[in-house]
Amino acid sequence: MEYLLKNGYVVDPVNKIDCERMDIAVKDGKIVESVDESKAKVIDVKNMLVMPGGVDLHSHIAGSKVNIGRLFRPEDHYKDYEVKSGVRRSGVGHSVPSVFTTGYRYAILGYTTVFEPATPPLKTLHTHDELNDIPIVDKACFPLFGNNWFVMEYIRDGKLEECAAYVAWLMRTIKGYAIKVVDPGGVEAWKWGITSQDFDQEIPRFGITPRELVRGLIKVNKMLGLPHPVHLHCNQLGMPGNYKTTLRTMDAVKDLAAGDRPILHLTHVQFNAYGGVDYLSISSGADAIADYVNKNPHVTIDIGQVIFGDTTTMTADGPFEYKLFNLLRGKWANSDVEVETGAGVVPINYSRSNYVHAVMWCIGLELALLIKDPWRVFITTDHPNGGPFTEYPRVFSWLMSKKARERVLKRIPRLARVRTNLKDIDREYTFYELAISTRAATAKILGLNNKGHLGVGADADISVYNINPKEVNPSTDYKMVRQAFSRAYLTMKDGEIIVKDGEIVAAPVGRTYWVNTRAPKDVEDVVIPEVKKRFEEYYTVEFENYCVPESYLAWSAPIQPLEPAG
Amino acid sequence: MVKFTLLTGRSLTQGVGKEVSKFSEKYIQEVSTCQIDSEDLKILNVKPGDCVKLTTEYGSVVLRAAASTLVHRGSVYVPYGPYANILIGTKTGGTGMPNFKGIPVEVEPAPGESVPDIRDLLVKTYGRVK
């Protein structure tokens, strides 16, 4: 099938194209130099914005804790449901949408790639089972390593090569994409009822600190040549004053950087950017963090923006969720996973008039606005922790319009304005920067060379928005920005039209990416039998049954690791 | 006629038996037998192996009595199955779950009666089959 998208204003930062009138040619699922206009289907997108399909690197869409969220929040579903129609399966929505609805709604936003950022290895067959059911978007999942007994023991014993072999085996066996670390050591501590873990405090019964754990895994990441840096959710999430832990964490691995490829991605940093000493005095630590990130290129972040309204928090950070439960005293789910990690789920309603929530709201935007390099700061809501992904366009409008921010700032508690920096920030994102932060940069940091841009050879994942960048001033017309980005005029995936004028017209299967990681054979030949032997003592499943066969994935898309750095 | 509390539940034999077939000797025997404390049996004037008639507000069925040391005084235990379900009602109180345990039941000796064959029980209660 050949297409020609004519006359659109193309924004393609990878190829340095900024709102230029250009035609995009598509053939056999890829962007090509040109097509025969007489044979191709011509779509006139005059005066519209044409971008690569959105690439969301951190969104909780599939797996055990997401399903716990769906199950115990029927109230999340009652008011927001989708009727079966045409190619669309029915479903329910809001903060924990059912799988079909998830795929459709992302496509309607013009997103074509979405990664699940945290999967407990033992439960990753489940994650893939759900990912298989999410239509349209390409996806992947990040296995959790930060509270893993094998990893902690290898690092404690200084056995980094063996650790790398274990990680390589695990990554390819369960079809994962990147090393995810959540509250390093803290979830293991929580399994003994301890709710706080400091970055430099020994993890109970394992003899190493989170600092050593994170450093070890970054070295392992380099050894294995994984396409994405270690993806880290810092210790002390949610705690007033935690910005200091975040700074310490970033600084702790600075010496491991080599070259200009970032070695650490900090996720949903808003939740880890608090000043103050308690919730009465909580303030913004975003400026200190932005300052550090601006000066230190070894780190990338995503913001984890808060949206006012009802949503569901869910994370592998079980101890944090227990603490949140004690603050809110509503429902609470916890799910510790043997040997590896845990999870917690707690509903929350972020309120404009709540001082703490208002401060949180400011901080996310501050991070995006104070960090100068849009290639290193990505827009997320840590869906659904900060808010549902369907609210991304609202975040875009806040970033692109000081006026839009002021409308909200006017209505939050005065003290929240005083103890944050947002009111003093004038910067407004351009469409170009938006495209970097939501497409070009995220694809790049994930190592997805065929995504996030519209150059020849790229996957034909394209989104067209009915907004004229030459006529619309996002600074004042922020409502139009929000509306336009809420319903793509056209979304194309692998050269197939998925969304037409905000409606789903096709729902093909998307890819599941995973990295076919390997360590040196002589090390693997020693490590894997060792791991197998300890399975019986540690786990309650057979070593053989731990594997997720490649055939299980609806559309398996393995990626070879990069050339290892050393 | 003595008032008891009816409990229904799983038993290993019921579980093992159903894997062969619900028409197997083992399964039918297990699910058509009710367990009553030995002292209670004496009061009822029933010997283990005799037939007893159980009646709840929902229905009545004849079962084989067995002596048990596991069952509370005043309780009668019947494994899950079509016999037990004659005695169970469908009120769920908005929960979807009927009352399978702790139901008031009257137990009386049923001399001269016999435990119905499983097929006969099904056809008599639900029809359909010739």
Binding site: V83, G91, V92, S98, L122, D129, V337, N545 | N85
Partner: protein, 432 residues
């Protein structure tokens, strides 16, 4: 003869995956297992199964072709205004997904055996949440294991040896663990417990309340609660408060007796409270090997774990209204498809009466009691023996069931059968 290792047992919710099965000439000849249920499953599955599609003619089941059977089932579903699709717990997730698709296509209601099993547990979770863990956490850390209203020696024979009191974990040996059983009768499990508490039938809620009171240092003025002397309740409260990791496994003793979901509310909040003093978790003892899978699949595809109604074109969940026993006893449905379950054996009389008064089709490898009463019966393959598929253990861990032998000639899997029905249903709908 060849041996197949790491075989998952399609038996109970323990989903043990370490069975050794010996196969010769496409037949299972031996199985190495400590479990009577498992042995029975693997060795008896083929003894008295149904291998022919059947249709009821003049009151009797007669053989027919697969094509005819599929046609009849498809017509039944399309012609019904509100069909019930029930069962699902003894088949693979792949088949369960087909079930959801089919229910959505025909605008019916899909429910699984949770509805008469741990439905109340899910209602409790929806009220208060779920402080839980995977079974390996119990193995690794638990020094106190409580079995409340369940009897693993009968229904989950290897549970204690594999996951809890009788196993050795990284931080705990069996000698370092205590077992408490709370039940209305002294079960086999109770006889081997460190502490057995015999609670009066229908008074678990009161007993849990008493425990909560003691944990909060309140005085109990009675001499006994729920038939249990207060000294014993105090002993249990102290055990719970002073352990390092406590695990509460519970069963149908709580979900089925008076209070039902309120009993679970109480149990969940009890465990929540215990986390103030120590680490404590709770888990339901799921009966069938893939009832958890049915909940998981239904939840991620529709948002709700059981009793999902599609009559308005979108998923709706109303316990008491869309739950199978209520649907049947009120006569809402006008046709039923039963897959991998035996409601005639398991549901109350009046529900079964209505079930049998309307068109009834069954897909099952066994000649179940429901098949015995049905209008159409389609034989299927056994998941985990003749067909591979995904299943979820009681703690939510997903595992792949293996195919060990081929099914008999002509017997399809549940997935294949449902697929054929779905195709035909769509054709018939187009034609209308």
């Amino acid at each position: 003869m060849k041996v197949i290792n790491a075989v998952l047992c399609p038996g109970c919710g323990s989903l043990c995956d370490d069975n050794e099965v010996y196969v010769e000439d496409n037949k299972i000849v031996k199985v190495k297992t400590e479990c009577a249920l498992s042995a029975s499953k693997f060795l008896n599955y083929n003894k008295e199964r149904n291998t022919k599609p059947l249709v009821r003619v003049d009151g009797q089941l007669k053989p027919t072709t697969l094509e005819d059977a599929i046609e009849r089932v498809a017509r039944m579903l399309v012609e019904a205004e509100y069909p019930l699709l029930y069962g699902w717990s003894l088949t693979s997730c792949e088949a369960q997904k087909k079930g959801v698709e089919l229910a959505e296509e025909v605008g019916g209601v899909i429910d699984n055996t949770t509805t008469v099993c741990h439905g109340p547990s899910i209602l409790g979770v929806q009220d208060f949440g779920d402080p839980t863990c995977t079974l390996g956490e119990v193995k690794a850390r638990a020094d106190l294991v409580i079995y409340w209203g369940c009897d693993p020696s009968s229904a989950h024979p290897r549970h204690m040896r594999r996951y809890s009191s009788l196993t050795k974990g990284k931080f705990r040996t069996p000698e370092q663990r205590k077992v408490v059983v709370v039940d209305v009768r002294k079960t086999a499990t109770a006889r081997n417990a460190n502490l057995f508490i015999q609670v009066k039938p229908n008074q678990d809620y009161e007993l849990i309340t008493a425990l909560k009171m003691l944990l909060q240092n309140e005085e109990i003025e009675e001499q006994e609660v729920a038939g249990v002397p207060v000294e014993q309740i105090e002993e249990l409260a102290e055990l719970m408060r002073s352990c390092e990791f406590g695990m509460l496994f519970f069963g149908l003793g709580l979900t089925m007796s008076e209070g039902k979901d309120r009993n679970i509310d109480a149990a969940i909040t009890l465990v929540r409270e215990l986390n103030k003093w120590t680490k404590f978790a709770i888990m339901p003892m799921r009966g069938h090997y893939n009832v958890t899978g049915a909940n998981q699949v239904l939840t991620w595809q529709t948002g709700y774990p059981y009793a999902v109604d599609f009559s308005r074109g979108y998923p709706r969940f109303e316990p008491g209204d869309t739950t199978a026993v209520d649907v049947l006893s009120r006569g809402y449905n006008d046709a039923t498809l039963v897959v991998a379950s035996d409601p005639v054996a398991n549901l109350p009389k009046d529900a079964v009466k209505h079930l049998c008064s309307k068109p009834l089709a069954v897909i099952d490898p066994h000649m179940s009691l429901t098949a015995f009463m049905a209008d159409v019966v389609i034989p299927s393959a056994f998941v985990g023996i003749e067909e591979e598929g995904t299943a979820y253990r009681m703690d939510g861990v997903a595992l792949l069931m293996k195919k060990i032998v081929d099914p008999p000639e002509g017997i399809l899997s549940d997935v294949q059968i449902l697929d054929l029905i779905l195709k035909r249903v769509r054709e018939l709908k187009k034609g209308r």
